[in-house]
Symmetry: C2
Subunit: 403 residues, 2 copies
Amino acid sequence: MYGIFSYDIGSPRVGYKHGQQILDLEIVGLLGFFKDLGFDPAVFARPALNQFIALGKPIWQAVGERIRHLLSDDESALNDVRAQVLIHEDRARLHLPVRIGDYTDFYAGIYHAENVGRMFRPNGEPLLPNYRHLPVAYHGRASSIVVSGTPIRRPSGQMSGVDGQPVFGPSQALDFELEVGLIIGKSNPLGEPVPIAEAEDYIFGITLFNDWSARDIQRWEYQPLGPFLGKNFGSSLSAWVVPLIDLEPFRVAGPVQEPTPLPYLQTARDGHFDLQVEVALRPLDGDEMIISRTNTRHLYWSFAQMVAHHTVNGCNLNIGDVLATGTISGPDPGGYGSLLELSWNGNRPLRLSDGSQRTFLQDGDTVTLRGWGNKNGVRIDLDEVTGSILPVFRPAKHPQAIQ
Amino acid sequence: MYGIFSYDIGSPRVGYKHGQQILDLEIVGLLGFFKDLGFDPAVFARPALNQFIALGKPIWQAVGERIRHLLSDDESALNDVRAQVLIHEDRARLHLPVRIGDYTDFYAGIYHAENVGRMFRPNGEPLLPNYRHLPVAYHGRASSIVVSGTPIRRPSGQMSGVDGQPVFGPSQALDFELEVGLIIGKSNPLGEPVPIAEAEDYIFGITLFNDWSARDIQRWEYQPLGPFLGKNFGSSLSAWVVPLIDLEPFRVAGPVQEPTPLPYLQTARDGHFDLQVEVALRPLDGDEMIISRTNTRHLYWSFAQMVAHHTVNGCNLNIGDVLATGTISGPDPGGYGSLLELSWNGNRPLRLSDGSQRTFLQDGDTVTLRGWGNKNGVRIDLDEVTGSILPVFRPAKHPQAIQ
């Protein structure tokens, strides 16, 4: 897993997480361990992965192999410099792994979409007519994406009041969304679609992603142009990016897509991944509890289909862009990926470890998403993305208010 | 008006447009004309306005005054260097004026919103219940914003077919949208709203903005999360940014807002601007025709209200972000700001100068938006944003297809 870290007085640079250790790739590069691979290791001295990613897939592969070799038990090359290049994660400060240009959020979790449809359109079909034909998506806010561990401030905003008149106040329906974020690894020119057969080449890797949502703000604002302030107060990205090429052992077929999508979304190759994901909720003075367990293979649309759809009109993707999947819910209530679904719109409170109940998040709550793959003896860790809720912002009092 | 230009073999730098001349601010700075103003003129050697903007409002004002003084008729300071610092616009190549982090599109044109409501919800109220309570907005795509003059490729995509099944093909309902883009001039920290009384301090200036739209793609995809591929294939920004402080002579009251919005959107100060805007359409082999004339004062929500609303949940704005107003339509059909409205969803074709008809744009059509203020003898030019439609993308044939 690649990420950006700093420690002591050093500036942020690229690291590779290995267990609880972080391999300092800037120093490894300065020591000459990459010098036969034909690239300038100064890319590892940068405060974002973008320059490394821009070197392209053959270099990602070569660097990955070299790192695994250096870290392997029977390799003594690092022995003399171990203390210099391996830093325990407790000493490290973590930073946003990429400089994000644009952020797109899909709606590829079909069980989530069905649950939302059942709650808000109880008399209609759970899925809208376009759902099985295209990966529905909208643009999100890139500026408010923060790295795992950053606290999230409860947003205030307009919401619907009792008599149809809006009221203003702190959100009373603050939620998380369990998602995976794709980190774009290759740019396409504006006007030139990416064919689905090449789509995975445009993905560098994946992260865990929490698309915090204020359901009450969202519900009042979202017609007719979609979510805005109900989402853009903050989204959390994990600090570590798992290269897509490392996920091959977990590749599986996705759900049967019926009706068959249009040709630009068709692919012969299995495009889903068998990765476990879970959500833990910890109240301020209580213990953590796992409140949801599911799997990324429950997504209806594959990563490749998301890239092909996003660019079919010529829209250009750039290195470092984030494409999030949308909420990943499983078919059963134990695998729902948001409190909206877990509490069924506030009607079925969850009981937490400290005896308290939750429909939506309270100040001081900590939400942690985790993920991993485990198959045929191969295990891969997706690390985690975590964040705690801060109370609503109170502006400093004006001098005259103190009088 | 500030922008980014290059000429001959020089690299892009900051210029100030004055009539048909561009004042090369990099050279003016190197010659020492700003040296008493207390900033490093190297900001003018950059390929985007962001660094200059980051110097803050007092410097914007001081630089503006200095430039006006240097360019005034009775000023001879520039005489010896005129040929060195003034470049005719015909020699210049224009670039995107700012490095854009995020782009937000509002829906502040109430006549546009009403027209769309009448067309698509003929049996309901033209405006949705939230419209007069908050400035509806959604996030757009920053990567596909191009500078005026860049051709726009007709997008392909899914749209609704005859039997409810989607079909794939080039958009047959390609449209423009007449908008103004605000260029953000100051950043707020994530989590800290901008009070409306300070909101205009966060706007550096305005541009003309064309939010090209594929209505058929948009109509099929937009439920429930808003526009996506119907918009993100391209948006055009004018090359020149007019500082907001230069618009003071055109400040006017906006429409009466009834019901009164919530306190965070209330301001005692007039927040609208009396600026003429128009749309010209030129077919490939014909003459240009003005197809719409209206005024930015017809927007329902003010610029300050847009900034206050956007940040009320703590969302952070960054220098160089673009906030577009949404389509500006006047109350009368001659002032509608899109072909969707001008042709009333394709039912009333426009007749052009070459005798052809238009419901939506054809390949080779050129759309130019222009704007200006003219009041009490003071005139200000908003320049223009223009773009021509290229035919749909055809991928290069594979070798085997040539056999």
